[in-house]
């Protein structure tokens, strides 16, 4: 029974199980894209109908931190693909190294994001009674910051989950026999990590660039 999966599970072979898990992750990501899709739709509508306030909000975001974070995340995603490739070739040590680098970059992203949030809290940019932007554009700008905080928070939650998943992969690799499906796990987490990266690629222009000039 060397290449067979769990005899009580639904699979005849491990390969079958691996394929199926990858399919499941793709489907889950399709669902996720509609979650973020709904958010983007509402943002686009308000960026259009409340254009002035929205732009006022965009101008208050920190382009430097946002830009740096974008570069960090792209780099992290790219490095993770090296882990996937290494895992495919059974170079476990190299795979773990690359995965850990990717996770570390993810942590840097989260730290920078937290710093950015605390700065914004201090500047009273969180929607509420003492909101910093006043005048005709106040309502639209509050709306912008609602989306800003909700979207970046949701994205950060996904980042934390992703970092956790990568940590789990690395821990499993440390054990003597991490199981044959380890390579597939690396691949599946890679799908998820790229998706989180992709979401940021849409968030960045919507929250930092559109209407800045």
């Amino acid at each position: 029974m060397s290449d067979a999966a769990d005899p009580h599970g639904p699979y005849e072979t491990l390969r079958h199980q691996e394929e199926t898990t990858i399919a499941g992750m793709w489907l889950f990501l399709a669902s996720e894209s509609l979650l973020f899709g709904g958010l983007f739709l509402v943002s686009l509508i308000y960026a259009h109908t409340r254009a002035n306030g929205w732009a006022a909000g965009v101008r208050h975001t920190d382009l430097v931190i946002g830009g740096v974070n974008t570069v960090i995340l792209i780099t992290s995603s790219a490095i993770y693909t090296l882990a996937v490739e290494a895992a495919r070739q059974d170079h476990k040590r190299r795979a773990v190294q690359a995965a850990m680098t990717a996770a570390a970059l993810g942590l840097v992203f989260l730290l920078l994001k937290a710093f950015e949030w605390s700065k914004e809290f201090k500047e009273h940019l969180f929607p509420g009674t003492h909101f910093a932007i006043t005048g005709a554009d106040a309502g639209g700008a509050q709306l912008f910051y609602s989306f800003y905080f909700l979207a970046t928070f949701l994205h950060a939650v996904h980042m934390i989950v992703g970092t956790g998943l990568i940590a789990w992969i690395c821990l499993r690799a440390g054990k003597v026999n991490p199981g044959k499906s380890w390579n597939t796990s690396v691949e599946i987490v890679g799908l998820y990590w790229s998706f989180v990266d992709l979401v940021w690629m849409i968030l960045f222009p919507v929250l930092y660039l559109v209407g800045r000039t």
Partner: protein, 549 residues
Amino acid sequence: MTETPASLFPERSYLWQDGTLRSWLLTTDHKRIALLYLVTITVFFATGSIGAALIRLQLIEPGGMILSDETYSRMFTMHGIVMVWLFLVPSIPVTFGNFLVPLMLGARDLAFPRLNLLSWYLFVASGLLVLYGLFRGGLETGWTFYTPLSTDYTQGRVLPVVAGVFLSGFSSIATGVNIIVSIHQLRAPGMTWYRMPLMLWALYATSVIFVLATPVLSITLLLLAFEHIFRVGVFDPALGGDPLLFQHLFWFYSHPAVYIMILPGMGVVSEIVSTFCHKPIFGYRFVAWSSISIAAIGFLVWGHHMFVAGTSLYAAIVFSMLSFLVSVPSAIKVFNWLGTMHGGSIRLDAPMLYAMGFIGLFTVGGLTGLFLASLASDVHLTQTYFVVAHFHYIMVGGMVSAYFGGLHYWWPKITGRMYPEMWGRIAAALIFFGFNLTFFPQFILGYEGMPRRYATYPEQFQVLNVLSSAGASILAVAYVLPLVYFTWSLFKGARAPGNPWAATGLEWQTSSPPPTENFARTPEVTSGPYDYATLDRLNRTAAEEAPHV
């Protein structure tokens, strides 16, 4: 692996293999999870029914019998929220879907057994949150959470209920992912797509909606909660938000969700009609693809909920036409069921009675839907009891009938016991009669202009309201009956053979109840679905050989 037929060892079935509570709560067996769900949604069905009973009690008198206006609003909201989110949406997919998908595919389990268990825990948590909100004061928004009702005007507990519904969405998504991936990946050797029973096609279509529509509801509810907590105008007009935007997003999920609440029922009816006519389903491929097209078109019709909300006329015309389009695949199903029954020798056991009830009531519900899909008559009928009657004919007359039909049909497979057939037929007839008495008068009430959601009404409507309430009390008795005799049958019912209905389908080729691993040997599929000719030939051969054993 042992080659001995598992049917010789009924005590080795999934039910009794390990009887500890712990083994049930940590199970990853799809059959046990189906039973966990069955018990859970029965509790929610009872809770929602209490709300319905109080509503019908209140409306016996024009001035209202027992409830204050506010309590009445909270009661119909409770009824709607519990019935839609905690019963109808999960109902057939999480019970029969969970139980049958692997059996019908010839697999040992769903693709992701642990995810399946997780979905149950999510569902229980979401149910507890909703019930907490409802019993700590409730809310008066209706099941749709429309703004500004859910923001400015509510005194109630919107947040825990919204959080609960939000959470239940993830349970649905998990179930949907599991069913879709299982159907793609776990079909037994020889089980091609066109050899699958129609139930699987229906569940596949339902799951597509679970996976692709539910997340839009999730994000909408998240925005609603954000608005509620931080007072920013996303949807609330008083804060500068757009209430129509909420309705667009809400119905983008909730119209497809209407098909979550009917497609699985159509799957059940297809199975039952074929079995009790002992004939293959007429136009199998059309019925299969009509499920997919109902799901697909369902994503494009949400605007018909907003004809009088101030959307543009052109949008309304397009949405109206698209809504009419849905009736085509729905009618294909009805005609093909009738075509199957035509000329067949129909056995009228309880499941078939429910299935026939479904066909009749769904047809009435579907045809009255056309009045609401066309702009001119909708302006007159919207917000009246006509709408209430229409969707109850679909949801209760259709889906709940199918649910009960399925329960009777697969009860022997699930429990290994036969229910008392006589009582089954009596309950089916009572449900049909009680249902029509409850809801048919509401069509007339609505046509005559009685608005929905009010705790009182003008005196001229009393006769029809009393009739409706009388029907509801019959319905209440009729729903308690199966609970009693099903429980009785668990202990005293006759032992069920593997295939009590002489049905096709892989689930009937294993013992009742099935062993934990479902099949002693992975089945090989060599012919199409509903192949009664082969089944009968095998049975004849078995009968001829029997004396020699």
